[in-house]
Amino acid sequence: MESSLSFRELNKKAKTYKTPETTIRIAVLGNHTTTFFSKSLANSLKIANFDPEIFESDYDQIDITIIDNESKLYKFNPEIIILFESTLKIKDNFYSLSENSSRSNFNLDVQNSVQNRISILRANGCQAKIINFSYELIDDNLYGNLFSKASHSFYNQLWKINNNLIDISQNTDDFFIFDVNKYLKDSNDYRDWPSYINSDLHYSIDTFAKFSQGVATFIKAIKGSFNKCLILDLDNTTWGGIIGDDGIENIQIGSLGIGKAFTKLQKWAKELKNRGIILAICSKNTENIAKDPFINHEEMVLRLDDISVFVANWKNKADNIRYIKDVLNIGLDSMVFIDDNPAERDIVRQVLPEVKVPELPEDPALYLPFLSSLNLFETASYSENDKDRTSQYQQEAERKKLVNTVTNMDDYLKSLEMVGEITDFQIDDIPRLAQLTQRSNQFNLRTKRYGENDISNMVESKNHITFSVKLKDKFGDYGLISLIILERKNENTFFIDTWLMSCRVLKRQVEYYAMNKLVDELKKINCEFILGEYLETPKNNLVADLLDKLSFDKDIKNNNQYKLNLENFKTFKNYIS
């Protein structure tokens, strides 16, 4: 895992990748030369497993492109629009204002212009997610450190502009801010002034490459691919020293000396856990010795109930990480493994190349600054439910133990005492519903991603019937774990636009339970047929035969098209009451 690549390195690396299957259409609108940004974005997206098609607006024509509803932008129909304006350019606009009063209002002009763009795009029927670049904080130093008091100073206005952008983002669905300042602060030569003067190149080509890699990671997150689990080694990673040799009273943790560095790392992990990242431990240790500090050391920030899967044994770490993956039922490519030992990092990288294994600096004081600089846990959505995930996975571990004690599946399912609840989409559930469409990759019939806006539209729509399914059992509450969206095709026919389910409730017969309910509801409104379609992705093989199992008939000519005549439907047996 490396930090950012140069323009040339990125170009070279992308050439070694095959063209991926998933296409993505991105529009880049800028007020300066964005060619190098677009080129490296194409490369970064290819490496991130997308086949990108990129549309660039004509030079400095953002507003005309957006206003003209006949423009190529709308024909191109992008999934994502990137608005990338350079501070150097708007600085000229700012200086052309002669009155101090209009200079003091400059930030409002920019705010209005951004809001206008959003509303015109939407009015013209464009549903694309918008990624708006923040403005680089360039101090022209005309007012030095008095800038905060001089509201007509450029630097003062830039701060306000960026604050306004954040406010817009908080109140506008599908509008995100990409902060350029974060990406510039570690580099001294991010702009080449001669190229700026001679060729209108507002950043060096390597800076454009760096932005593109940051944007690609974010686009990946928007498309549902991001890291979900942090796996920590213990000795000299989570605490200083070796618990088996040094004993609980001698490991380094807390407010003194190098212990501080480990405490800070633990606090980071705990914050991630509260944001919804699953924590797991993978350590070569004896289990009860390894667990002791989590229970009995007062200065440990991480406690046993923060950890979803705790693996301490003497087996090799690649096998143990595979085990963690099985318990959690998530992809290896969504796991991050942190270990101070280069040999352990190496074996995991070799055996499980999908797992992200960052290098770690030798000095523990640098662990946290380095790890947080990698932006390993990029995300495009957040919901309050995320906090509860740890306990859900702990319950899952309990259930796994129960499976081992019962001999047949029916007995097991009966013993779970499952209770289901199925309703149409509820307003309160909209964030969770949108999140499920973003995140579910495996049990997902057509992998359509929806934002909160789309989901609310569906609730209102007369042409859609929606179902959301909640489930609990004797070990705990899963919450909302499945959703189905049906679209009316004609008087008596509906089409399954979306059918997805969280993999945490795989093999619980939830799909049969939901199907029974769905058919009941459709019969009530005199529907006679349901059409279905399976759209294959690299990850959803799990549901390749879902519609067969649900007694749909496969179209003879078109193997992924299905139809069900409700007259022939027989209710499925299941153990969900």
Partner: protein, 78 residues
């Protein structure tokens, strides 16, 4: 001169994605289809990185052919 021409040819091949390029002092942008204004910027950056030099704006603007580029590199290196 020849040593620089060889290295530059390799660099031009990679940057312009054209393996047939062989530079001589008289080569100009008109001779190579891929050598447009955008790629010119890319070339300058990579030449500067390769030789760890920084051209002056006035130098870049004066170049008429590859020979001028090589002279500029030699001047900067000495």
């Amino acid at each position: 001169m020849n040593e620089y021409l060889n290295d530059l040819s390799n660099l031009f091949r990679e940057v312009l994605e054209n393996d047939d390029i062989t530079l001589n002092p008289e080569t100009t942008a008109n001779d190579i289809e891929e050598w447009d204004s955008i790629n010119h910027i890319y070339l300058v950056v990579e030449i500067e990185k390769t030789y760890q030099i920084k051209f002056k704006s006035s130098q870049i603007l004066e170049w008429k052919n590859v020979g001028d580029i090589v002279s500029a590199i030699i001047e900067k290196k000495s």
